[in-house]
């Protein structure tokens, strides 16, 4: 059983005061636990459920619903590339292929050195600036192969 840090628990408790219903803190709690632990293992989900005081099945349901909660360990940098219609029309598939070749991994995997995880994602709301991607919490748009090489080299 994982124990969440006092800081995470305190953050959950502080957040709980903002809502009339404690259930509302569940997503925040999962997010904080992910920040602390890197990803949400079943044990971590259980720990969050206990801290928020919701059934553990419910917590797992929420965690598995949202793709931004990592259920498996991820690399230091998570590349989330949009492959929806608009981005694909603008060449997202070529970009994806290029990243896969450059990192030597397939979509959904992490590099052996633990530096990168590559994920296809659904629309990130940038259809006017496609292809687009998010790495960690930074947004990149109007992607080209050269631009990708620059970005990845700096990380």
């Amino acid at each position: 059983m994982i124990k969440l840090s006092d800081k995470t628990i305190a953050a959950i408790e502080e957040n709980a005061t903002r809502y009339p219903d404690r259930n509302s803190v569940l997503m925040f709690g999962l997010w904080k636990a992910q920040e602390e632990l890197g990803h949400l293992s079943p044990e971590a989900i259980e720990a969050v459920a206990e801290a928020v005081r919701v059934p553990r099945a419910k917590a797992q349901g929420v965690a598995t619903y949202h793709s931004l909660y990592w259920k498996k360990p991820v690399g230091e940098n998570v590349i989330m590339l949009c492959t929806n219609v608009a981005c694909t029309l603008m060449g997202a598939e070529t970009i994806l292929e290029h990243i896969e070749n450059r990192l030597g991994i397939k979509e959904g995997h992490t590099t052996p050195d633990g530096k990168f995880t590559l994920q296809e994602v659904e629309c990130i709301g940038s259809c006017g600036y496609g292809p687009a991607m998010v790495i960690n919490e930074t947004f990149y748009f109007d992607l080209t192969i050269n631009k990708i090489d620059d970005i990845l080299a700096k990380l």
Binding site: I45, P55, A57, K58, Q60, G61, T64, Y65
Partner: protein, 891 residues
């Protein structure tokens, strides 16, 4: 409220309250297709098949989430609606496997029916079917998520009605599955709510797998579950005289349970099919049972009983009826004993505890029964659950309590000496030292008075009663009670405040009170607590004693008691004896008889020479097994009716094979005084006969013929038993009646004493005794001997379902106690007391309080009676055997 006028498919409908389109359409017999909608659950509106057209709206709307307003005009089968519905079906069938031929749901599947009706089998999509392995995580269920339509009814019913929230919808979109946390089903209590609510074949019973089809059923009978005293309505389906399965009420409206069942009712149905059933009368000759026939065996019994009666007098014969017999059978047995034999030595197994509650409620309020009804508990704002684990002993009462908490925001106070599975829903848990129940209740009364939280208006009208109660509770100050019970004084005050300030507040109690020393006085104290807080006579208030078995309340009602005639009339009353004697054309014996415990003791002393035991397994159910067996062996003659060769039947001179509840008619009266009919779903198995018929045959042979047909017996009961006046099989049609029944209103009584309490003049001074500590130096633990959710004795030992979940007895122990003794989970432990010892595996369970060992009371190889002694409480003569001091060591 103004009525709402709407039009559905051209039919004008008047609604007296706002409701959704699906419910409104139901009023005029129109079915709006739906998967996710369920009237008892929150609206989810996720399946989209209930789309209907509303005049003036551009798009179809969901029938489940749209509330009808005045003047609304709805079309449920218009062209536009059918097109939308076909679209939804097309999407559902995209992934749904076409395995109807091997799916148990075939013939009663909503998806199948709708596809058949709307014909959307052709799809315009080219897509692979989902491939998800069948999930066997649950011992009783299999979940085939390829068939799931994502309606989430299983998830919601588990969370909202059962209150356990074992399931959740994992992942999303086309990958969604309904699963438990990482497949761990340890929180599941196997109630089967999810099974009965799945509209398709995604959740199926492993017991019913490939057993039958809906059209394969040849007999279907709506009946009452024979296990606990909640008295749940359920339907037995049989074919060729074998039980196929139990189904629950899909309308969620019938009986005390309103569609819910627990694991025992839903999955414990196959004991009538058992090949261990007794099939022919057996007579013991030279120590061995010899198969006999009915004429011979009945004649033999009549002859032997007559001989003993003339040689030693009628009081040398005693009779006991078990907790699973019908009211009619209990009535016939007591009449047989009082007329044909001529003794009051008749008792029933409510003597194991429930009788104390009934006597106390009679002393307090004048009526020997629960003051309220089970479903009422859901309206309470506070519930004191004491000495009863409603989640395992009376699961449907447990659901009503959960509803009060989950829907009504009620505060639940769980007070128990041992493990209590309702704790997770409680706002406060009071763990008292076994034996100090009375002090705790008195402490609550004291705290209520001390802070003037009692009902002052009521006090003005009942000054003398209040004074008496106040004086009785005087010495139980929080400090004193805290010392006796081990509960901090602050907690006692807090519980009293919560309970006294909630209106209405109710009390639910059981064997943890009634089967302990001074069970009568403790029950009376609880009645006092309900009274002084002004909760008696209020819906959602009152006091609810929980009987253990389906027939206990009824057996007491109809007079299977040594000191009471039918309707709790006293044997000592010459007037009542005369009235009944007139009806029965017999002079009734005037000396009160012996209780079951006294009978066994008298058998040991040679004073009782013969016993007639119907459906009670005395050698197993009574404490002190060793001596009980010894004493029963001393009887000159023992007759036993049973469905199986029980431990008691093995000691008998004559054994009659009895019919199960699935083969006979009759009535049970549940904990809330509801008299309900059971109906046969199959022919008598082998040579078995209903107990009533056997009793009547013996009685006739002894010169007192009786009618035994249950409907006729009930007519007689309604004449001889004042509290059952007016109750006949006709009045019981449609959900039963809570006695007393009022002919002029054509209804029973849901809430007693609504006009005020009349019986308080008969108040008694009985105290709660001294809760001396049970555990000591030699025996440092207290064994909490109680029922398990999955079992209830001779019957469930022969069912497949409950045994698939829990197949053997385990000694539940607190982790700290176990580690102190070097005991690990699964280690064999020896539980030793002054009378004997048990060897069984330990189960480490943090829900068991420290200092307590949880021992289940109903496994063949581990007989809890081995470690208890026969001690009869002076007031109710109930065996005091709920808690027993023991020592625990690693084997």
């Amino acid at each position: 409220m103004k009525t709402i006028n709407v039009v559905i498919n051209g039919i004008p409908v008047q609604l007296e309250r706002p409701m959704n389109i699906v419910e409104a359409a139901k009023r005029v017999g129109i079915h709006v297709p739906h998967f996710c909608y369920h009237k008892e659950l929150t609206i989810y509106a996720g399946c989209r098949i209930c789309m209907v057209e509303v005049k003036g709206k551009p798009r179809p709307v969901a029938g489940c989430s749209t509330i009808m307003s005045d003047g609304m005009e709805v079309f449920t089968e218009s062209e536009k609606v059918i097109a939308a519905r076909k679209g939804v079906l097309e999407l559902q069938l995209l992934h749904h496997p076409l395995d109807c031929p091997v799916c148990d749901k075939g013939g009663e599947c909503a998806l199948q029916d709708y596809a058949f009706k709307y014909g959307a089998a052709q799809t315009r999509f080219i897509e692979n079917k989902r491939l998800i392995p069948v999930n066997y995580n649950n011992p009783l269920l299999e979940r085939n998520m390829e068939r799931c339509v994502s309606c989430k009814r299983c998830v919601r019913i588990c969370a909202e009605i059962q209150g356990d929230w074992v399931l959740s919808d994992m992942n999303r979109g086309s990958r969604v599955t309904m699963e438990s946390f990482c497949g761990d089903e340890s929180e599941c209590v196997h109630c089967g709510h999810c099974l009965s609510n799945c509209p398709v074949g995604a959740i199926q019973s492993r017991l019913y797998k490939h057993v039958g089809r809906p059209w394969y059923v040849d007999t279907e009978a709506e009946t009452i579950c024979p296990y606990c005293a909640d008295g749940c309505t359920m339907t037995l389906q049989t074919r060729e005289d074998k039980v196929l399965r139990v189904v629950s009420d899909e309308t969620y409206s019938k009986g005390a349970n309103r569609g819910s069942l627990c694991v025992r009712g839903r999955f414990g149905y196959d004991f009538p099919n058992s090949n261990e059933r007794l099939t022919t009368p057996l007579v013991k000759k030279d120590g061995y049972f010899v198969e006999s026939n009915w004429d011979e065996a009945v004649a033999h019994v009549a002859k032997r009983l007559s001989e003993i009666k003339s040689a030693a007098g009628p009081d040398a014969i005693g009779a006991v009826i078990g907790g699973r017999n019908t009211n009619e059978e209990a009535y016939l047995l007591q009449k047989f004993m009082r007329t044909a034999v001529g003794t009051n030595n008749i008792d029933n197994m409510a003597r194991m505890g429930h009788i104390n509650a009934l006597n106390a409620l009679e002393a307090a309020f004048g009526v020997a029964g629960s003051t309220n009804q089970i479903k009422d508990i859901a309206q309470a704002k506070a519930v004191l659950l004491i000495g009863n684990d409603a989640a395992t002993e009376n699961p449907i009462t447990g659901l009503a309590i959960k509803k009060a908490v989950l829907k009504g925001g009620a505060k639940l106070i769980v007070a128990d000496a041992g493990r209590n599975m309702m704790t997770k829903h409680s706002s406060q848990r009071l763990t008292y030292r076994a034996g100090s129940e009375g002090e705790l209740v008195m402490g609550l009364i004291n705290a209520v008075f001390a802070t003037n939280m009692h009902d002052a208006d009521l006090e003005a009208k009942n000054t003398s009663v209040f004074d008496k109660v106040r004086a009785k509770a005087g010495k139980y100050t929080p400090a004193y009670v805290s010392e006796k019970t081990g509960i901090p004084a602050e907690d006692i005050k807090r519980a009293a405040t919560v309970f006294a300030n909630a209106k209405p507040a109710t009390i639910v109690f059981g064997k943890g009170i009634t089967a302990t020393a001074d069970g009568f006085g403790k029950s009376l104290a609880l009645a006092d607590l309900a009274f002084i807080t002004g909760n008696v006579g209020k819906p959602g208030g009152g006091i609810n004693p929980m009987a253990s078995k389906a027939g206990e309340q009824g057996a007491c009602d109809v007079g299977a008691l040594p000191d009471r005639l039918p309707g709790y009339r006293k044997v000592s009353s010459a007037e009542d004896r005369k009235r009944l004697g007139g009806l029965w054309k017999s002079e009734l014996p005037e000396n009160p008889g012996m209780t079951v415990g006294e009978m066994v003791e008298a058998a040991g002393a040679g004073k009782l020479q013969a016993m007639y035991v119907v459906g009670a397994n005395l050698a197993y159910e009574l404490p002190d097994t060793k001596n009980t067996v010894e004493y029963l062996k001393k009887l000159k003659f023992l007759v036993v009716h049973d469905i199986f060769m029980s431990e008691t039947a093995q000691l008998a001179d004559v054994v009659f094979p009895a019919a199960t509840f699935a083969e006979k008619s009759g009535t049970f009266t549940n904990s809330e005084r509801r008299v309900q009919r059971i109906a046969p779903a199959m022919k008598l198995q082998g040579g078995a006969r209903p107990d009533g018929e056997i009793i009547a045959a013996v009685s006739a042979k002894m010169g007192r013929p009786m009618d035994w047909e249950p409907a006729v017996v009930m007519e007689k009961i309604s004449v001889s038993t004042p509290i059952y006046a007016g109750i006949t099989y006709d009045t019981l049609a449609g959900g039963g009646v809570q006695w007393p029944y009022y002919e002029e209103m054509k209804s029973g009584t849901a809430v007693l004493h609504a006009e005020g309490v009349t019986g308080r003049a008969d108040n008694t001074d009985a105290g709660v005794g001294e809760g001396a500590a049970l555990a000591g130096k030699v025996f440092p633990f207290v064994a909490d001997i109680t029922v398990s959710l999955y079992h209830s004795g001779t019957t469930t030992r022969r069912t497949r379902g409950p045994n698939m979940v829990v197949g053997k007895a385990l000694a539940g122990m607190n982790p700290s106690d176990a580690s102190g003794l070097g005991i690990a989970d699964g280690d064999t432990v020896v539980v030793r007391s002054s009378t004997g010892e048990l060897r069984l595996p330990a189960s480490i369970d943090k829900a068991v309080p420290s200092g307590v060992v949880h021992i289940p009371a109903h496994f063949a190889d581990v007989c809890a009676g081995t470690i208890t002694g026969l001690v009869l409480d002076p007031a109710g003569k109930t065996p005091v055997a709920r808690y027993w001091p023991v020592a625990v060591t690693k084997a």
